[in-house]
């Protein structure tokens, strides 16, 4: 059926062992191991987070999973939900972006990253962050979900862990920019390789987006959790969270777009449609991801109507790059399918490499993402939002965006990335094709269940199995959620097993990083597209315009601080002696000085050499 034969690795098996070992040898080993280690961390997060997700789905039909004396001592529904969110939405996505987009930057520039220290440091900080946050979560001290709305507070190690995870992404971004500068010195006036452009812009967007959560956590939540301040303004901290909280979905999504735009065409034997349009899409994400956050706060009492309206319009703008993406990707796929003999209106579709697990995972992710995008526009549509806000419709929506477009694409990428990093062929590729279909069917059933319930008023993030108010009409919705959850988990287990066996089973083969060329190449571009500094400043200005009035209004009318409280939450923050303020600020100062010294060292370090 497929005209792109799949042999378990991306190219024909290597003629001899020497070549087979040459996989990643284009780059230094000390830069490859942190990339592999980050990815491994993400896989562990996926495995654990996915299993907790299964328990949540099953709780709807079997509440006794949590409500029995044997398990309730160890695991609370909301503890599991917090773990599920943090492991999948933060750890899994961040570690993948760090790992994948470092490698793509290296590949695009054909040189190692500028700083090995930053690359390894990113992994070490990320792992340390997982340990710190994991400690608080596993010991029932951080049941605050990944949105961590104040005045609920968690143990300080949860916030420190989350901070380190974010810092690990900043190190990657800094490393990318330094490597870009080295490359530019040697290639004055040349258009940046598209793969590098997309990888770097994804992180630049996130640098701006993460300002909100950095201010929230460092400025308010950590001081509150150690008792330096006893009160915070919940409307303000919520707004800071959503400053980051919407753009974070694009930080999850853009690595998937890098694969869809720049790698998928190569994997199906075709080309990127348009170089310039791809760059424009990524720049639009850089400009409009952050100034849209208030559409998550349409129903907040403390945000003026005119600001909600303004963010409704910027949200509509951010739909444009995804609409363009739908066109560009489909046309790239169609061109590839036709070049392999596909005829007629739909004849190109069977020619897309449905036997290649990496391709089929991502094709199915794209299909379900169409539904994800449409439901996203529903959520963002101002008044329509009142029907679905905080209902089960929302988890229904994001399981067919981050749960497919992102998670399935990551799985699809891992089908070549792990063979590339290990030098082994993918273990049992056919299982991967089965997992892709199973996951897609599962997630669609799951999402159908959740959305159905949501439109009928079923709340999100609630232990529905234990909720006594639950009307009979929601039972079908719960059953679909559980069935879908089981199917997704089976697919996830197959995937994790495949990854594990690919690492363990020695079966040498060369896998190359698939990088596609463009039909309309970079030479035809307007050179202004590559001036990233200017786009970054423009993005910053847009954020100031969109959020300046918001914070100004909150400062004037934003309400008063509310005591942070925990006793009823079933866990306690770290009990600190009084006067911890100076200690914490000393700690911040030490970290800041260490960061500055490190930065100085990196900036003065040797430029990277071409591979």
């Amino acid at each position: 059926m497929s005209s792109v034969p799949y042999t378990g690795s991306m190219t024909a098996p290597a003629p001899d062992k020497v070549a087979a070992r040459a996989n990643w040898r284009e780059f230094p080993k000390e830069q490859i191991w942190p990339i592999g280690a980050q990815l491994g961390l993400g896989m562990v997060a996926l495995g654990l987070g996915g299993l907790l997700g299964l328990l949540q789905a099953l709780e709807r039909v079997r509440p006794e999973i949590y409500e029995n004396p044997a398990t309730s001592k160890y695991l609370d529904y909301y503890q599991g939900l917090s773990l599920h969110g943090v492991l999948l939405a933060l750890v899994f996505t961040f570690t993948f972006a760090n790992s994948f987009l470092s490698l793509t930057t290296m590949k695009a520039f054909q040189r190692p990253m500028r700083s090995t220290l930053l690359l390894q440091g990113s992994f070490v900080l990320g792992a340390l962050g997982v340990v710190l946050a994991g400690f608080a979560l596993l010991t029932n001290r951080a049941n605050v979900l990944y949105t961590m709305y104040a005045p609920m507070t968690a143990h300080v190690s949860f916030y420190l862990g989350a901070t380190l995870l974010v810092v690990s992404t900043w190190l990657v971004s800094l490393n990318q920019v330094l490597t870009l500068r080295d490359w530019r010195k040697e290639h004055p006036g040349e258009p940046m390789p598209l793969l590098a452009f997309a990888s770097i812009v994804s992180f630049l967007m996130w640098d701006l987006a993460s300002i909100g959560i950095a201010v929230e956590v460092l400025g308010f939540l950590i001081p509150a959790s150690v008792g330096i301040v006893n009160a915070v303004n919940p409307q303000l901290t919520r707004t800071l969270f959503w400053f980051t909280g919407h753009a974070i979905v694009y930080f999850w999504l853009l690595p998937a777009y890098v694969s869809w735009y720049l790698m998928m065409p190569k994997q199906v034997g075709g080309k990127i449609y348009s170089d310039s349009l791809t760059r424009i899409v990524f720049i639009l994400f850089l400009l409009f991801s952050v100034p849209t956050g208030l559409h998550h706060q349409y129903t907040d009492p403390g945000i003026p109507i005119w600001l909600k309206t303004a963010h409704f319009f910027t949200t509509i703008v951010i739909a444009v790059p995804s609409l363009i993406t739908a066109f560009s990707l489909m046309s790239a796929l169609e061109l590839a399918g036709r070049s392999h003999g596909g005829k007629g209106l739909f004849g190109w579709i069977p020619k897309l490499g449905w036997g290649n697990p990496s391709v089929v995972m991502q094709l199915l992710a794209m299909l379900t993402f169409i539904l994800g995008g449409i439901t996203g526009i529903i959520n963002a549509s101002y008044t329509v939002n009142s029907v679905v806000h905080n209902t089960a419709f929302i988890p229904g929506h994001f399981h067919i965006t981050v749960g497919t477009a992102v998670a399935q694409t990551i799985m699809g990428v891992c089908f070549w990335l792990v063979p590339y990093l290990t030098g082994n062929k993918l273990w049992q590729p056919k299982l991967g094709v089965a997992a892709a279909w199973l996951y897609t069917i599962g997630v669609l059933i799951f999402a159908r269940g959740q959305m159905w319930g949501g439109i009928d008023g079923m709340p999100r993030r609630s232990a529905m199995g234990a909720a006594q108010y639950q009307p009979q009409e929601w039972m079908l919705s719960n059953q679909l959620t559980a069935i879908g959850g089981v199917l997704m988990t089976i697919a996830g287990v197959i995937f994790v097993l495949m990854m594990l066996m690919t690492v363990l089973v020695k079966n040498r083969g060369v896998t190359e990083i698939p990088v596609a060329e463009a039909v309309i190449g970079p030479r035809a571009n307007w050179s202004g597209l590559d001036k990233l500094g200017r786009w970054f400043i423009l993005a910053f200005v847009l954020i100031v315009l969109a959020y300046g009035p918001t914070f100004w209004d909150l400062a004037r009318n934003g309400g008063r601080a509310t005591p942070v409280r925990m006793p009823q939450m079933g866990y306690m923050p770290l009990q600190m002696p009084a006067n911890m303020g100076p200690v914490l600020f000393a700690l911040y100062a030490v970290f800041a000085i260490a960061a500055l010294v490190g930065l100085w060292k990196v900036l003065l370090g040797k430029p990277s050499e071409p591979a």
């Binding site: 129903t299 907040d300 363009i324 101002y382 905080n390 008023g457 609630s462 571009n525 307007w526």
Partner: protein
Amino acid sequence: MKIHAYERIYLALCAVLIVLGVIAVGMSVFARGVHLPAPHGTILAAEAVKTAPFDNLGLTEVAPGEYQMVMLGQMWQWNPLKGENPNGKDITIPAGSTVTFTITSSDVVHGFMVRGTNINAMVIPGQITEVTYTFDKPGEYLVICHEYCGRFHHKMWGKVIVS
């Protein structure tokens, strides 16, 4: 910069789609009168119970067929609604009544939703939430807390009975 003709057509269609969407949303606001929760003042959460109007929770008829319902979101009760709290009391109103809910929270963030209506608003400590709705159809309306507010979040609910 070269942009293919198909691409231009597609982009134009996208623009039309977006404009139509914005018009539809505009009509819901201006023609149908659907409004989002707007700021209604602030309050000191720790002293909400002692602050008017939250020192006198419950339903008052302010004019014929027009009611004000003052409520407090607390872990884990929509005070004074019943839900799973023996001291609470669900409210009963005649069909066609217009109710203005005035709510705040004395502890953490809660979410106020009435199933089968478009009542949907966050209840944030320090802020006063106000929502108005006309209950035309008789029946039992489920009031739910839809924002995670701690261990027994799913026990926070109540009922509005329209007779």
